[in-house]
């Protein structure tokens, strides 16, 4: 592997927009395509990736012990039960934040690059040290945002920092899209968000109650519920990452019938 490994930072600025859920589902989807994938929980303060992947009880060592050379990397990596191509490197103790430096993140990622085709870094919220450490180890980034003013504003801050640190490409995932609200223009449209942030759209994810069900169980949607609306979106994002040309779904198209036709008519730009 080594040089052709893709190291992708998954970040958002604002918390709670769906970074960890995207990381977990992308990890599963890429592994499903036969690509060896490592997901690295860089949120040392408030780790959750282990929980979403259902691996919380199988953690023995973490990134902390790897860095302190108390264990080997393969002892700390937790392989997923169903998707053997996917491994998690768990976040260490929150006290790691006191001494962790950008170079530490780089050395962890360099070790992962030896073994994996994809390294997905689940970034902490905020634009402080946790984010900067994670960014230092990354080559490209996916910015996750919701069609809400606060999430878009925070995403803009993060995009500015990614640009000044020469992270590229930076692509956008628009999460928790509600087609009905978009159709009635009570939610920022896809064009609104991509125009404001000036980023290419890697994909959008429809609002889906099944996401909560899947986190309850610790089984990402893309693992067992691949027909749910959000799971399809995650799978498409993984395929596009691999360079496949998958057309974007039109959220307003999703709500079909006369109502949708009427809503589309109402969206017609007059001037």
């Amino acid at each position: 592997m080594g040089t052709d490994t893709r190291v992708i930072l998954i970040c958002s600025g604002k918390g709670g927009v769906g970074k960890t859920t995207l990381t977990a589902n992308l990890g599963i989807s890429l592994a499903r395509q036969g690509l060896t994938t490592a997901v690295l929980d860089a949120d040392f303060g408030l780790r959750n990736l282990d929980l979403l992947l259902g691996l919380e009880n199988r953690i023995v060592y973490t990134a902390q012990e790897v860095l302190e050379e108390e264990c080997r990397l393969d002892q700390a990596l937790v392989k997923h039960k169903q998707e053997s191509n996917l491994s998690l490197l768990p976040a260490g103790n929150p006290r790691m934040l006191d001494w962790l430096k950008p170079d530490d993140m780089k050395s962890i990622v360099n070790m992962l690059k030896e073994q994996f085709k994809y390294v997905l870094i689940d970034c902490p919220a905020g634009v402080e040290d946790g984010f900067k450490n994670a960014m230092a180890a990354s080559q490209e980034a996916i910015v996750v945002t919701n069609p809400e003013v606060s999430a878009v504003r925070d995403a803009d801050r993060v995009i500015g920092l990614l640009n000044t640190n020469s992270i590229k490409p930076v692509q956008l995932v628009l999460n928790r899209v509600r087609p009905k609200m978009m159709a009635s223009q009570e939610m920022l449209s896809i064009d609104d968000v991509t125009d404001i942030l000036a980023l290419p759209l890697l994909g959008l994810v429809l609002e889906d109650e099944q996401v909560i069900v899947s986190t309850n169980k610790g089984e990402p949607l893309t693992l067992n519920s691949i027909n749910s609306p959000a799971a399809k979106c995650y799978l498409n994002i993984a395929k596009r990452l691999q360079g496949e040309d998958i057309p974007l779904i039109d959220p307003i198209e999703e709500s079909s019938g006369f109502g949708a036709k009427f809503r589309r008519l109402m969206q017609t730009k007059i001037f």
């Binding site: 803009d156 223009q185 920022l188 109402m266």
Partner: protein, 119 residues
């Protein structure tokens, strides 16, 4: 403006909130991206007006300087209404007493002078 916006206007209903969100975001991001406070912007507005006032007579109360953003490019837009004389000409101020104007960095500054007919 979409068909819905027009119908909302005709019925005097509140416009859908997405357009409000878009406008508020564009404004707040222009300021976030520039890191300029309103105080500095106001100071800059005064100084720009003073420089322009050396050459043409402008309406000091009407001038506006704002930040506008499109495609991650932020532009400083100055709107300076120029006063006209009775015969419609722009009022020029005699140039001989002008000190040398320091050519400061002008990158990203779009200057947009609007003429007002308030003679």
């Amino acid at each position: 403006m979409t068909l819905r916006d027009i119908i909302n206007k005709l019925l005097r209903r509140q416009p859908a909130s997405a357009s409000t969100a878009r406008e508020r975001l564009q404004l707040v991001l222009a300021h976030d991206r520039s890191d300029l406070s309103t105080d500095i912007l106001d100071q800059m507005r005064k100084e720009i007006l003073e420089v322009v006032a050396k050459y043409v007579e402008i309406d000091m109360d009407e001038g506006a300087v704002s930040l506008e953003t499109e495609d991650r490019m932020t532009a400083l837009v100055a709107n300076l209404p120029i006063k006209r004389t009775l015969n419609g000409q722009i009022k020029l101020i005699e140039p001989d007493s002008n000190p040398q104007v320091n050519p400061k960095e002008t990158e990203n500054i779009g200057q947009n002078s609007q003429e007002s007919f308030d003679s």
